[in-house]
C-alpha cells in the first residue's frame, strides 16, 4: 500500500510508513504522544505498543500508578516505584454498607507473571467480600483468601520456567469500631494512633520463623540473605492458605494502613509511618501519596502500595450501620502486651439482622 504522506510503498500490514513514520491508516492510530524524550522523533514515530520507531525506547509511558479515593477518609495509592518496569502490586478498596474493605497484594517477583498473580488475588478477594456478607468478618476473610488463592492458582504458567504465579495477601474489614485483618506473606497492616500505634501483622518470613523457633537471634537472622524470604504466599505451589487473623478494637481515632514492603522496607516502625503519613486534613489520599512519595524518595526500589482508612470511632448512638459478628475467639495477639486491645467478642449480634440497608450493593 502507498503511504498517504510520502507515497512510499509499504507492506500492506505495516502500521507505520517506514520512510516518514506516518500511520498507514490500517490500524487505530496511537494516542497522541509527545515527541520521543530520548531522540526527539515525532510522536507519530511510535508503534502501537509505544516503542519509538527510531531509538527503540518505549515512550515515556504512563507510570503504573493508580489512586483510588472512596471518600475523604478512605483512599489508596499503588505505584511502580523507581526501579521496576512494572507494578506487580495490587490494591483494592471498597465500602459496602458501611463496611470498609481494604486489600493489598504484592506479586512475588521471582514467580511467573507476578502482576497477574496479585491482581487475580485482589480482585477475587474483593468479589468474594462483596458477595458474601452474611457471615462473621473472620469467616468472610477466610472465604476471601480462599477465593484469592483459587484466582492465583488458576493462572496459567509454564512448569519449567520458575515458580508459578504467587502473591502476598493482606486484607482488612472494618465494621463499626472493629477491624479484622487476615494475611499471608509480608504485606502489612498498621494501626496508627499516637501512642497506640503498632504493627498489626506478623510477617510470614524466614526471619520471624527462625527467631520464633529460637534458632537464631533477631540480629543474627536479620543478616541472613534469607531474612526477607517469605514463608507463606498464595500460589499453585503453596496449597490452600491458612491465613493469620487478628481482630482489633478501634475505639480510639486513628488510621488503618495496609502496605507492601516497598513502603515498610524504608520505614517499618508504626510511629514513623504515622509521622510520614502526616495530617488527614487534605484527606486520606494525601496521606497515602505522602507515604508512596517517601518510599520513592528513598529510592523506590520496589513497587509501593498504601491503603489508608482514617477511622473516626463510632459512638453507640451513631452506630447505625455496622456489623460484626466475630465468632469464637482464635484471635491472635500481636504482642504479649498489645497496645491495642484485641477484642474477642462483640455483643451487637442481636441487632445485626435488622439492618435495613444490609443487602444493598450486593
Amino acid at each position: 500500500m502507498l503511504c498517504q504522506n510520502c507515497n512510499a510503498d509499504m507492506p500492506t500490514d505495516d502500521a507505520f510508513c517506514e520512510e516518514c513514520g506516518s500511520p498507514l491508516g490500517n490500524t487505530t492510530p496511537v494516542e497522541t504522544l509527545p515527541p520521543c524524550v530520548r531522540c526527539g522523533a515525532p510522536a507519530s514515530a511510535a508503534d502501537e505498543e509505544g516503542f519509538c520507531n527510531e531509538c527503540g525506547f518505549r515512550r515515556e509511558k504512563v507510570r503504573e500508578h493508580t489512586e483510588i479515593v472512596i471518600d475523604a477518609g478512605f483512599a489508596g495509592v499503588t505505584d511502580q516505584g523507581k526501579r521496576h518496569a512494572h507494578n506487580e502490586d495490587s490494591l483494592a478498596i471498597a465500602e459496602l454498607d458501611g463496611t470498609k474493605i481494604l486489600i493489598v497484594c504484592d506479586g512475588v517477583s521471582s514467580s511467573q507473571d507476578a502482576a497477574a498473580a496479585s491482581k487475580a488475588a485482589a480482585s477475587s478477594a474483593l468479589a468474594s467480600l462483596q458477595t458474601d456478607p452474611k457471615d462473621s468478618a473472620e469467616h468472610r476473610l477466610r472465604g476471601a483468601i480462599r477465593s484469592a488463592w483459587h484466582g492465583v492458582a488458576d493462572l496459567p504458567y509454564t512448569m519449567s520456567e520458575g515458580d508459578p504465579p504467587s502473591t502476598t495477601f493482606v486484607a482488612a474489614l472494618v465494621e463499626g469500631n472493629l477491624a479484622t485483618v487476615a494475611w499471608a506473606g509480608d504485606s502489612r497492616a498498621y494501626w496508627l494512633s499516637g501512642e497506640h500505634s503498632k504493627q498489626l501483622t506478623i510477617d510470614d518470613s524466614w526471619l520471624n520463623d527462625t527467631v520464633a523457633e529460637g534458632k537464631l537471634t533477631y540480629e543474627e537472622a536479620l543478616h541472613s540473605d534469607k531474612a526477607h524470604a517469605i514463608t507463606k504466599w498464595l500460589g499453585a505451589d503453596a496449597g490452600e492458605p491458612e491465613p493469620s487473623i487478628v481482630t482489633i478494637d478501634l475505639s480510639q481515632p486513628g488510621v488503618l494502613l495496609l502496605c507492601t514492603d516497598g513502603l515498610w522496607n524504608y520505614a517499618e516502625e508504626a510511629g514513623k509511618l504515622e509521622e510520614l503519613a502526616g495530617s488527614n486534613e487534605n484527606g486520606a489520599i494525601e496521606m497515602a501519596r505522602r507515604l508512596v512519595d517517601f518510599a520513592n524518595c528513598e529510592g523506590g526500589r520496589d513497587n509501593i502500595t498504601a491503603a489508608v482508612y482514617v477511622h473516626v470511632p463510632v459512638t453507640e448512638q451513631q452506630e447505625v450501620h455496622p456489623i460484626a459478628v466475630v465468632p469464637e475467639p482464635e484471635a491472635v495477639p500481636v504482642e504479649e502486651e498489645p497496645a491495642v486491645e484485641l477484642k474477642r467478642k462483640r455483643t451487637t449480634f442481636d441487632r445485626f439482622w435488622f439492618l435495613p440497608s444490609f443487602q444493598r450493593g450486593t
Binding site: 516503542f51 531509538c55 518496569a85
Partner: protein
Amino acid sequence: MANFRAEVFQNQFMADGASEVHAIMTVAVDGAPGPVAGIGSGKMFGILCDVSGSMSGEKMHAAKDALSKLVQLLPEDIYFFVVAGSAVGQLVFPAQLATADNKSRAMIAIRGMAAEGGTVISTWLEQALGQFQRQQGGVKQALLITDGQNDETDARRLDQMIENCRGVFQCDCRGVGTDWDVPQLKKIGTKLLGTVDIIAKPNEMDADFKLILAHAMAKSVGEANVRLWTPVGAKILFCKQVSPEIADLTQLGRTVKQQVTDFPTGSWSGSESRDYHFAIEVKPGSVGDEMLAGRASLVVVESGNETKVAEARILAIWTDDEAKSTRIERHVAHYTGQADLAQSIQDGLEARVRGDSDKATALLGKAVKIAHESGNEATAKLLRTVVDVDDAATGTVRLRRGVAKEDEMALETRSTKTKRVQKS
C-alpha cells in the same frame, strides 16, 4: 501461500548498562500444500559436474551414472541444464523442460562428457548464472560436484563470480573423495545458501543426488529474507541461521534502508522450520527502561513484491534484579553451545593438522562434552572417528592415530549441523 509463524525466545532482562541483546527466532512454515508462492515460471535445476582430469576412471563413471538417474527423476514441468566443468565451463545441455525427449538428449550429453583438464570453478558458475538468469523468479537450485581443488589463479575471479550469483540461485555442493578443499566448497555453499557435504565413495552419489533433488522439488517459496529492524545507532553483531545447520548470514546482510537489514534465506519448502540467532548491540538503558531492540520478520519476495509473512519482537528491559538479568534463555544457551561446538571442531581439527596435539585434544574434548550435553548424537558420532572418548561428560578424550581422511573431512564438513532445542 504457505502459513509462516515466527516466535522469538530471549531473556528480555538486561543488567543496568548492558547493551548486548540476544534472541533466537524460530520460523516454521506448516505443510498445508497451498499454491506455490514466488514461483513465477516454475523451477530450474542446474547440474554442474566436474570433468577435470582427476575425475577420470571410477569417479567419472559413477558420476555419469548417478547424474543420468537424477535426470530421469526430474519432474516434467521443471527446467534443467547441465554444465561440464573443467578449465572452462561447458554448457553441454542448455536449460530446457524435462520432457522425456529432452531427458534422453541430456543423458546422451552426460554420457559424452570426458574427463580432462583443470578446475576453474568460476567458469562453471558463470555458465550456470547465464542459464538461471533466463528465468524470472521461481526456485533455482544448482548442484555442484567436484573432486579437486580450484585452480589457485581463479581465487579472485571465483569470489567475484560467487557475488554475481548470490541472490540468483542456490547451490548445493558435493565433494567427491578426499582431495577437495572443505573451506573452499563451504564458502560457495554458504554464500549461495546451499548445503555442503562429502561423498567419500563414488557409489554413494546416487542416493545423495536423489535427496538433493527431492529437497529442491519440495520448495514452494522461491525467495525469502529475514528482515531485521533495529533502533537508530544499534549494531547487528551477528545474524546466524542456527538450525538445522549453522550458517553465518551476517556478511550476507543487505541494508534495505536505514535501520532495516535483509538477510537472505533462499527458498523454503512447504514444511520446515529454521532457527536464527540475532545479537544486537543497542544503546545501553538504565534500570526501568524498556526498548524494542529489534523487530524480526520473514519477508517473501514474489516477482519483485514483498510480503511480510511473520514478525516477532525482540525486547530489552533493564532491571537491577540480577536473578532476572543473569538468566540465559534456554534457546539462546543451546544455540550458543552449538556454535561453540562447531567452532571447537574447526579449531581442533586445524590444531591437529598443525601438529598441536595438546590444543587439538583440548578443543575436540570440549566439542565432545558439548555434543554430549546437548544431545547432538550425530556430531558426537563423527567426533568418535577422530578421538577416543574416555569420558564424554567431562570431555576427556585422546586423539586417534591413523584417522581416515574421509572421516576427518566428514567431521569438518558436518560440524555445523545442529541439534534442535529439546521441547521442555
